[in-house]
């Protein structure tokens, strides 16, 4: 397991596209100390290697397709209603390519 350091926590937050205050990072670092000990409770369980990871409580696979029924699309005004930056009927963002 990767060692928990302040750098690792900063890196994780950065990958998640947010930042925290230094005090918040310190709180999180302290929380990890308890969390690591709680995670050891899983480490104690024997016989897990032969088990498949459980992703859902039951099999919920659906092997049929819905009928291909045409539906009215969302009106443009509605679709853009919740966006905070809109120009000429499109969501406006900073240029990606210069």
């Amino acid at each position: 397991m990767k060692q928990i350091t302040m750098e690792v926590l900063h890196d994780a937050a950065s990958r998640l596209l947010f930042d925290m205050s230094e005090e918040e990072y310190r709180t999180l670092y302290e929380e990890f100390k308890v969390l690591t000990r709680q995670m050891e409770t899983i480490g104690k369980i024997e016989g897990l290697d032969g088990l498949a990871p459980m992703t859902f409580p039951f099999d919920c696979s659906v092997d049929c397709l819905r009928e291909d029924v045409a539906e009215a699309p969302l009106p443009r005004d509605e679709a853009l209603k919740n966006a905070g930056s809109v120009m000429d009927n499109e969501i406006k963002l900073p240029k990606v390519v210069g």
């Binding site: 926590l9 596209l17 947010f18 709180t27 308890v34 969390l35 990871p53 409580p57």
Partner: protein, 489 residues
Amino acid sequence: MAYLDLSLHDIHAALLAKKVIPLALTQEALARAKADKNNAFEFINEKGALEYAASLQEPEKENVFWGIPYLLKDNFSTIGIPTTASSNILNGYVPLFDATVEAKLKNAKAVLIGKTTLDELAMGGTGTTGHLGKTFNPWDPTHERMIGGSSCGSAAAVSSSIVPFALGSDTGDSVRKPASFAGLVGMKPTWGRISRYGLFPFAPSLDHVGFFTRNAEDSALLLNLLSGRDEHDSTSSFKPVERFDSKIGQSIKGMKIAVIKEITDSISNEQLNASFLKSVRALEKEGAKIEYISFGRDLLESIYATYIVISCAEATSNDANLDGIKFGPYYGGSTYQEVMFNARTKGFSELIKRRFVIGSFCLMRENQDVLFLRAQKNRAKIVERTNEILQNHDFIYVPAAPGVAPRFADSSDRLSDEYLIADNHLALGNFAGLPSITMPLAFIDGLPIGVNIMGRAFDETGVYQLAAAFERISGLEGLSVLNKKEGKL
């Protein structure tokens, strides 16, 4: 007693007899909602509710939901009504569609009074992390005690008798634990029984729609209405919808019930243990066969860590769409990454960020095998043991929490068995997707405590049969802060 304090059947009878009309019921519910002192609400739907209630004229004999006021937790999508999941990153967001459960309630002509507050994005168990602050437990007028979470507002509103029922969501125990602290019936049916279309996802492999009522029968009636396959949710079940109230009132003689010994052993509260034991004796007197069994202490102790790893990891990816671009406040930036960075830094509270970092840490390449995949394998092991018990027993019966609602200032030893086992075992129902209901048991110093009944997958009818029998034993049917009872246990 006002009509709002009655059961669904009794309110319905009054509506059919035209002793009360939906508009009057709605006005009363709105007046109670506006007088709320427990911080239960994100939004009160005054205008919409009054207009709709006024349009309801002819009662529908077979529809017990006709004209009944209700509330939704603010993580259900409601067309035209602001929905924030109590997170600043969704401030101002107004959904363009209804969640399936809301569509079903609308179709039944129930009246939406408002949206209730929650722990931010439903991630939390204290009712303290939403963007409107703490939600208080109505049973404690000094406002020193929590009601639990994440469905804190719905629990506070139903126990204050503002409405007869309110919907919540339950990923670890977010309906069933607050129900215990609020003296309510809190149900989480089988995973897949109710469509989750329009419920903001937290951890989809664990998320369930749940609800609060003040008696078992109302809960069963609500499940009758809300369950069923939904093409909008591929994980919803094809199982036929039963009449889940059909066995209410029937004897429980011969039912085989398991009590998990490690859970009762880990509870230090002697009054709770005494009331629980009294309830065991009372169930035996009704003919149930109760056996104390061992689950395995190590496995029970590992529930909390397994839950945290899986839920935080799933949340981390699910909430990647909260970027401040398509919805939510826009804070600008010189690149699109900076736009997202600014929105997420300002929009999420500290607790949510910490949960996301924990999830991200568990998913890092170096950690995936030892943390995330191992937690998923341990979940399989825990579920295997749970189902093994339910092969030989019809139900599992345990205290829902280790005591009364904690004070905001209380702290607990997070490595103790009382915390790891007694305070977190309800996640068993989420891991295995089993139907699980909390019922009020008794009072300690004027504060409610609860028990939990868990049944086999898709046996909600049996769960309600036992829950209703338990209600007769406890004498706490219809409990609220406006309808206080002593109970028999």
